[in-house]
């Protein structure tokens, strides 16, 4: 079933036209990868899905984005609600300068959850889902920055899970991590798609082919090709896609 649908989406930074008529449907409980060279618009597009571009001066968009049937750019949409539904994990691990526990609890606290038991349960559950619990259960009060980069990134995922989203956006979540930490994140993505819809931007083509069910190739602001990952990587219909995935440019 489709959960995200983009219809004729255009995006501009000032006069710079960065996305051209993007149309895409993303299925729920699956992993969709956005690939393409730097500056192709894939990050811009993923950040439109929870309206993180709203903070950029001069950003403007046309077209419609529906998530679970709702137009997320409608005036009456509450950004706080949208981001509860559509969580985000960023390129560089960015935990808050607080304890591990407080990092995960933050999303609950800002929603007015104050029951200690409830928060404790949600923190534990989220850390377990993010495959971090066994490593941090004895040091929940330690600063988040005492963790390794890979652990920090899983903490950021746990933090996102704590507010119970249905979609998780990941903007190059492993690009700042070593291969072992990357493998752990990829394993985690495979587990999470049972319950969540995951959209991931990646520069790493092997990663896209390993973790994703469907792949979208962006080039110069256009969605060039979109389909099953196995098809895109073995049998691309477009010449540009083929050149990119075979490493001839990018």
């Amino acid at each position: 079933m489709k959960i995200i649908e983009a219809i004729d989406v255009n995006a501009y930074y000032g006069t710079n036209h960065v996305l051209h008529n993007v149309n895409i449907e993303i299925k729920d409980n699956s992993v969709t990868a956005f690939i393409g060279p730097s500056g192709c618009g894939k990050s811009t597009f993923i950040r439109m899905l929870n309206r993180m571009n709203d903070y950029i001066d001069g950003f403007r968009k046309e077209g419609t984005i529906l998530i679970e049937g709702r137009d997320i750019y409608k005036k009456k949409v509450q950004l706080e609600e949208l981001r509860q539904q559509v969580g985000m994990v960023f390129q560089k691990p960015n935990p808050f300068p607080k304890s591990i526990y407080e990092n995960v609890a933050y999303g609950l606290r800002i929603r007015g959850v104050s029951n200690r038991k409830e928060i404790e349960e949600r923190v534990e559950k989220s850390l377990k889902k993010a495959a971090l619990w066994s490593e941090v259960k004895d040091s929940l009060n330690k600063p988040a920055f005492s963790l390794s980069g890979g652990q920090q990134q899983r903490l950021c995922i746990a933090r996102t899970l704590a507010v119970k989203p249905s979609v998780i956006l990941m903007d190059e979540p492993a690009s700042a991590l070593d291969p072992i930490s990357t493998a752990k994140i990829e394993e985690l993505i495979a587990e999470l798609k049972e319950q969540y819809t995951i959209v991931i931007v990646t520069h790493n083509m092997q990663q896209a082919s390993r973790v994703s069910d469907r792949t979208a190739f962006f080039y110069m602001g256009n969605l060039v090709e979109y389909g099953k990952t196995s098809d895109i990587f073995t049998n691309p219909t477009n010449k540009q896609t083929e050149n990119y995935i075979s490493g001839r440019f990018g």
């Binding site: 929870n50 993180m52 903070y55 001066d57 950004l79 706080e80 609600e81 949208l82 981001r83 509860q84 969580g87 985000m88 960023f90 560089k92 960015n94 935990p95 808050f96 300068p97 607080k98 304890s99 933050y106 999303g107 606290r109 800002i110 929603r111 600063p143 988040a144 920055f145 005492s146 950021c156 933090r159 996102t160 507010v163």
Partner: protein, 285 residues
């Protein structure tokens, strides 16, 4: 001579020149301090701190001056810190970045450079005359607040600017509102910088004399102020008054008062550094 040897000599030479300049500045300060301490140190005792001013130098004390300074500092903090920090937050976080905003920005920077006596004249007219507050502590505190507001605003903005964008994104990404993000993440992360700016601004306020003379602070106040509407004097005015007298004993009093004023300033800065360090150790980067 090879060019490499020449480069090395240049490097050494700059090192020496820099050292000389740094130490000559420190030397002047040290000479000044030693001179003041030699002159006034023995004059400082409990009576000096707890006596009212007097015509006779040996009976005169700085009670009215330091209580006036404490009042002024307290009132100025109450007025200037909330307004300055709030204005800084608004301009940096909420204000639209357009030409009006950059005009405001330039003007705030300009205000920080306006001579303090001009603020005195403004305070005299608006607070003293139009609002009818006269030469009271409140007029003084309001005037000094105007004087240090630009410093607090600029320092607050710089501190907020230094907070990494990724921290804000993390908070927004979890569905926090702008205010929640500012309150729970941005302010704690920038608190040390804001605090430093506030202390610098207050240190400036503590030494200001010119605007207070203009609004009518008195050199001779025979009682300790007990409400914001009372007349007052402050340490710099007392010092100025004493050192302009011909008798040597009053000069000694002036030196002693300078030492007390310096101690107050150093203690304030020390407290600021202490709080800033504690703040930063609470934030675990």
């Amino acid at each position: 001579m090879s060019s490499r040897a020449w480069n090395r000599i240049q490097d050494k030479a700059f090192h020496v020149v820099g050292l000389v300049f740094t130490f000559s500045a420190l030397l002047i300060l040290a000479v000044f301090l030693l001179d003041i301490i030699g002159e006034g140190w023995n004059r400082i005792d409990w009576n000096f701190l707890t006596s009212l001013p007097s015509r006779r130098a040996e009976r005169a004390g700085i009670l009215t001056a330091w209580t006036g300074t404490a009042w002024i500092l307290g009132l100025t903090s109450l007025i200037a810190i909330p307004i300055g920090v709030a204005a800084g937050i608004y301009l940096e976080e909420y204000g639209k970045k357009n030409r009006f905003a950059s005009a405001i920005e330039v003007n705030i920077a300009n205000l920080a450079g306006v001579p303090s006596i001009i603020y005195g004249l403004l305070g005299l007219e608006i607070f003293g005359r139009i609002l009818g507050l006269g030469g009271s502590l409140l007029t003084g505190a309001l005037t000094l607040s105007l004087l240090i507001l630009p410093v607090i605003i600029v320092a607050t903005r710089e501190a907020l600017k230094a907070v990494p964008k990724t921290l804000r994104e993390a908070s927004y990404g979890l569905g926090a509102t702008k205010w929640q993000t500012i309150w729970h993440q941005v302010l704690p992360a920038s608190g040390g910088g804001i605090l430093t700016g506030i202390i610098l601004a207050l240190s400036r306020a503590i030494g200001e004399t010119a605007p207070l003379i203009v609004i009518g602070a008195l050199a001779y106040v025979p009682y300790v102020p007990s409400s914001p509407m009372d007349e007052f004097t402050v340490m710099p005015m007392q010092i100025f008054n004493w050192i302009s007298r011909p008798q040597h004993d009053f000069i000694v009093n002036g030196a002693a008062a300078i030492i007390i004023l310096l101690i107050i300033t150093f203690v304030m800065n020390g407290v600021a550094v202490y709080f800033r360090n504690r703040w930063q150790s609470k934030i675990h980067w």
